[in-house]
């Protein structure tokens, strides 16, 4: 005899289907969340390593650390012309821009008469980075999505101590904040001037 579903059978079928669909949805959500967490962890690891390497390669070869603030560090990259004095073209700076939430390296593009000489006092002055910011320069992005940055410098004592730049960066990724904390020691002793 052929007959259709009764009302009870239909209800049971619907309930069963709903349960199965709920379980499937929960499972898919779990897969998606895990997948994302795995990707985020790998991206954070790569980002942390890259940031460390970029900052290491920038600071390690520098001659000296100049005046700095909690969001900017001025450096004397190298004595390119060997005159044992600092020229604008030999400087560079690492800065954090809170408005754009980016970390950048800046390299002056001055030459000739515009390539002024900096005294030691000017170089180490706390406002040196703001003087530097008035120079024409090219900028290179180091890290984006930086919600907060804090730099500290430890110059050390003694002729053989090497200055250290400490960085504490908070990077936002999908509303989650990851912290990149590290430090880089210069490979030259303090105050080569």
């Amino acid at each position: 005899m052929r007959r259709g579903f009764t009302f009870i059978e239909l209800c049971l079928g619907l309930v069963t289907t709903s349960l199965v669909m709920s379980a499937a949805a929960a499972f898919m959500m779990g897969v998606a969340t895990t997948w994302k967490a795995s990707g985020d962890a790998q991206a954070t690891a790569a980002e942390s390593t890259q940031t460390n390497l970029k900052l290491q390669s920038f600071f390690r070869s520098c001659n000296a650390l100049g005046g700095s603030t909690t969001i900017s560090v001025l450096v004397w990259r190298a004595d390119n012309n060997g005159d044992n004095t600092i020229q604008s073209s030999e400087l560079a700076a690492l800065t954090y821009d809170p408005a754009l939430k980016i970390l950048q390296l800046h390299f002056p593009t001055v030459s000739g008469a515009g390539d002024s000489t900096w005294t030691e006092a000017e170089f180490y002055h706390p406002t040196a980075t703001s003087v530097f910011s008035s120079l024409p320069r090219v900028s290179r992005l180091v890290l984006a999505r930086v919600s907060a940055a804090h730099f500290a410098i430890l110059r050390g004592s003694g002729a053989m101590a090497k200055p250290i730049v400490e960085f504490d960066l908070s990077v936002t990724r999908d509303a989650k904040v990851k912290r990149h904390y590290g430090s880089v020691a210069l490979r030259k002793p303090v105050d080569p001037l």
């Binding site: 967490a37 795995s38 500290a152 430890l154 504490d168 904390y181 590290g182 430090s183 020691a185 210069l186």
Partner: protein
């Protein structure tokens, strides 16, 4: 209405009329489904755990590198005058350390105090501990250290006692930060006693992740 003819199977018995799913069948189906779900959930948990492990490893490595940079920035030898006490001398403020050995036996636990005076908490819910050990290596006892000069193409730069000597071309070289420093010509076959210290930084998280970084430091008096 005509009655339906009963179905007879090949064994001559009357087949049971199919009347939906029995309780037993649905229970068996549920058990099979549960086993499948538990199995799949297990892989999800494992993947999630792996993501946390990657996170933890990143932090552990980063903390170790950070402390290593602080240690290697210190001069090899203590200043002749005005030497500040290190960790073993009861000075817990690492900002004031003035030579490598001041870090010997140093230990701290998260949240860490940064050089800039900030509290550094990795924010993972884990606790991290850091330790530093510094050993004199006048006579290298570990195999890779004995092999390193050869790997760096220095020939017999270190003698059996671990002292720095001239390479076959008669040029003095020394190894600092794992790099060849020099050359500094001082004649041939000159033997110079060198001092080496092995710096080890160990970081362990409460989840069990750990890393040990080693770096061989030499007295930079011998660099050019």
């Amino acid at each position: 209405m005509e009655k339906p003819t009963p179905v007879i199977n090949p064994h001559g018995r009357q087949a049971k009329r199919s009347n939906g799913v029995t309780l037993m069948e649905s229970l068996i189906a549920s058990v099979v489904l549960s086993i499948a779900v538990v199995g799949i959930a297990g892989t999800l948990v494992a993947t999630s755990q792996q993501a946390q492990d990657v996170d933890d490893s990143t932090i552990v490595n980063s903390l170790a590198r950070e402390l290593m940079e602080e240690v290697v920035a210190k001069p090899f030898k203590a200043p002749v005058t005005g030497d500040v006490a290190g960790w073993t001398g009861g000075n817990t403020n690492r900002k004031t350390y003035d030579n490598l050995n001041d870090f010997h036996a140093y230990a701290d636990i998260s949240p860490f105090q940064s050089l800039g005076g900030r509290s550094i908490d990795p924010g993972t819910g884990q606790t991290y501990t850091r330790e530093v050990q510094i050993e004199d290596r006048l006579s290298p006892s570990i195999p890779w250290l004995d092999d390193e000069p050869a790997m760096l193409g220095l020939g017999s730069a270190l003698d059996a006692a671990g002292r720095l000597i001239a390479d076959p071309s008669g040029t003095l070289r020394s190894i600092c930060f794992g790099e060849i420093v020099g050359p500094a010509a001082i004649g041939t076959a000159t033997e110079v006693p060198a001092e080496y210290r092995m710096v080890s930084v160990k970081v362990v998280s409460s989840s069990g992740k750990s890393v040990i970084l080693n770096r061989l430091m030499c007295n930079t008096t011998f660099t050019k």
